[in-house]
């Protein structure tokens, strides 16, 4: 593995046998079937899987927004039962996640206010976060006055200003156009390095997962379990053009793709173990 920040770090997030079964009067649906996952301090980990495969359910359980029906989530040594402090979150639906009645600045500032950060420090944090996402100068605008990509930058700035130990992102770039998406991916990669945040990134886009991450976790279709973990041994400095045309990038994305498409029938612990073996040796 080449990207240094994650190596040897202590485990920040541990997901231990987390299962989720929705029970209603008509039927019982198992969304997650025992997910095991560990994310080290400073690591960038993506979770990919088919749509409707329980990725978002997993994210909500990790965020403490939804109780698991089996297993547990431990963040920084503490069991998650409610949204933990120092957790940043970015949803796909920026238009609904940002508070429409607050200006850009107030949106970024609100979690800090709630945390009772002193005013001067708060101002500095907000200024820096807006600058970091390239939005200095639009603080007094309302989110809806901005383009979709810029709105998602506001949501990212809000998370950054909060100085989270863990940043959860749920398909954050799925609702913007391709050009903007590339820009936002590169922005996120820069911020990850600049602030040494730990990122758990949910996406259905294999290319995006490989491009951004140090490690890709593949979930199967519902009830989802971890099918494989694939280490991304691409150079730490990544670039939309050269990285995506790197033969190794193509190999990795093919590996991930094969894991997702693998029929559930031969999804056994043996296959999963062999993949893990492979990632260690590469």
């Amino acid at each position: 593995m080449t990207s240094g920040s994650g190596d040897g770090g202590s485990v920040l997030l541990r997901v231990d046998g987390v299962g989720k079964t929705y029970v209603s009067r008509e039927r019982t649906v198992q969304a997650l079937a025992g997910i095991d996952l560990a994310v080290r301090d400073g690591e960038f980990v993506s979770v990919v899987g088919p749509s409707g495969g329980g990725k978002t359910t997993l994210l909500k359980i990790v965020a403490g927004l939804l109780p698991a029906t089996a297993g547990e989530v431990v963040l920084g040594g503490r069991r998650v039962t409610e949204p933990p402090a120092e957790l940043g979150i970015v949803f796909q639906e920026y238009g609904r996640s940002l508070f429409a009645w607050k200006t850009v600045r107030e949106n970024v500032e609100l979690p800090l206010r709630q945390r009772r950060t002193p005013k001067a420090e708060r101002r500095a944090l907000v200024d820096e976060a807006l600058e970091a996402v390239g939005l200095d100068g639009v603080g007094t605008a309302y989110p809806w006055q901005l383009s979709g990509g810029m709105q998602q930058r506001v949501a990212i700035a809000r998370a950054i200003a909060y100085r989270p130990r863990l940043l959860l992102m749920d398909e954050p770039f799925s609702a913007v156009d391709a050009q903007t998406r590339g820009d936002l991916e590169d922005l996120l990669a820069r911020l990850w390095r600049r602030y040494a945040i730990t990122v758990l990134f949910i996406t259905h886009d294999i290319d995006e997962a490989v491009y951004l991450s140090e490690r890709v976790v593949v979930l199967g279709s519902a009830p989802a379990a971890v099918r494989a973990e694939i280490a991304v041994d691409l150079p730490a400095e990544r670039d939309q053009l050269s990285t995506r045309s790197d033969p190794r990038f193509a190999e990795l994305r093919a590996q991930v793709y094969a894991q997702i498409r693998r029929p559930p029938a031969d999804a056994g612990p043996v296959a999963s173990a062999s993949i893990r073996q492979e990632t260690v040796t590469t």
Binding site: R96, F99, W101
Partner: protein
């Protein structure tokens, strides 16, 4: 220069449109009613004459001010109670299930019907009038608040929860998100409150606008009676405009938001 001038022109045109029809109607009334021999339908000249005589005197202090005070107190109480109860009903499904049948009953109950009940139970004082006004104005506010609170976006709530916005911060957030609907209810309630102010004063009062108009009618002072009708219309119009100003300011974010969505779709 030209931009300012065209804006001034547009403003003048707006005022022209707003005042055009009322001015024409008043002029028609003035001309058609002039020299009217019918004592029940006096001419506009007489009515305006009476208007100045009646309302720009101590009647204003003795009758208009008490009316406005009752309206403000009753409406204010309805706002507080309606938003608080609507919030609780909108937020918790259990409360909603418990309250729904009673709400369905009270929302269709015509508010003036409680006047005889209150006359017996509470008496003829100001309290009765305040209760009538507040009771009638409560339901539109309560039901709209409950709807608005219930409909607050789930992603908004999850974001708030993830950033640990709990307690008062969360209540404020939910109310703010529901404020467009709360304002819709409050606007409706303002009209109801004015109606109930007049009705309650007509039925059980010794002062106030409603009482004065009835009094003029009973003493065959018809121009004066008509001037009271005119004043109530003006009052309703001014209050509606004031409400609009407050709403515009409080919901400026929402107007822009919905305007953009409509524009881009």
């Amino acid at each position: 220069m030209t931009a300012r001038r065209s804006r001034a022109l547009a403003g003048a045109r707006g005022v022209g449109y707003a005042l055009g029809l009322p001015v024409v109607l008043l002029a028609l009334w003035w001309v058609a009613g002039d020299g009217s021999a019918n004592i029940f339908l006096p001419s506009l000249r007489e009515i305006l004459d009476a208007f100045g005589r009646v309302w720009f005197s101590d009647v204003f202090v003795h009758d208009v001010v008490p009316s406005l005070w009752r309206l403000a107190a009753g409406y204010g109480a309805a706002l507080l109670a309606g938003v608080a109860a609507g919030y609780v009903i909108g937020r918790w499904a259990v409360v909603r299930a418990l309250a729904s049948p009673a709400l369905a009953y009270f929302r269709v109950l015509p508010a003036p019907v409680i006047i005889p009940v209150l006359l017996v139970a509470v008496g003829i004082g100001d309290t009765t009038k305040l209760i009538v006004i507040a009771f009638g104005a409560l339901w539109p506010i309560l039901l709209n608040t409950a709807d608005g609170v219930r409909g607050v976006d789930e992603v908004t709530l999850e974001t708030a929860a993830a950033y640990r916005l709990t307690g008062w911060a969360r209540h404020r957030l939910v109310l703010r998100a529901a404020s467009p609907q709360i304002f819709a209810g409050a606007r409706q309630a303002l009209g109801v409150a004015i109606i109930l102010m007049v009705v309650s004063e007509m039925l059980m009062s010794t002062d106030g606008l409603g009482f004065t108009v009835i009094q003029f009618q009973r003493t065959f002072a018809f121009p004066e009676m008509w001037s009271g009708v005119l004043l109530l219309g003006v009052l309703g119009f001014v209050l509606a405009k004031l409400f609009e100003l407050v709403e515009r300011y409080a919901l400026r974010w929402h107007r822009g938001l919905t305007g953009r969505q409509e524009g881009s779709s």
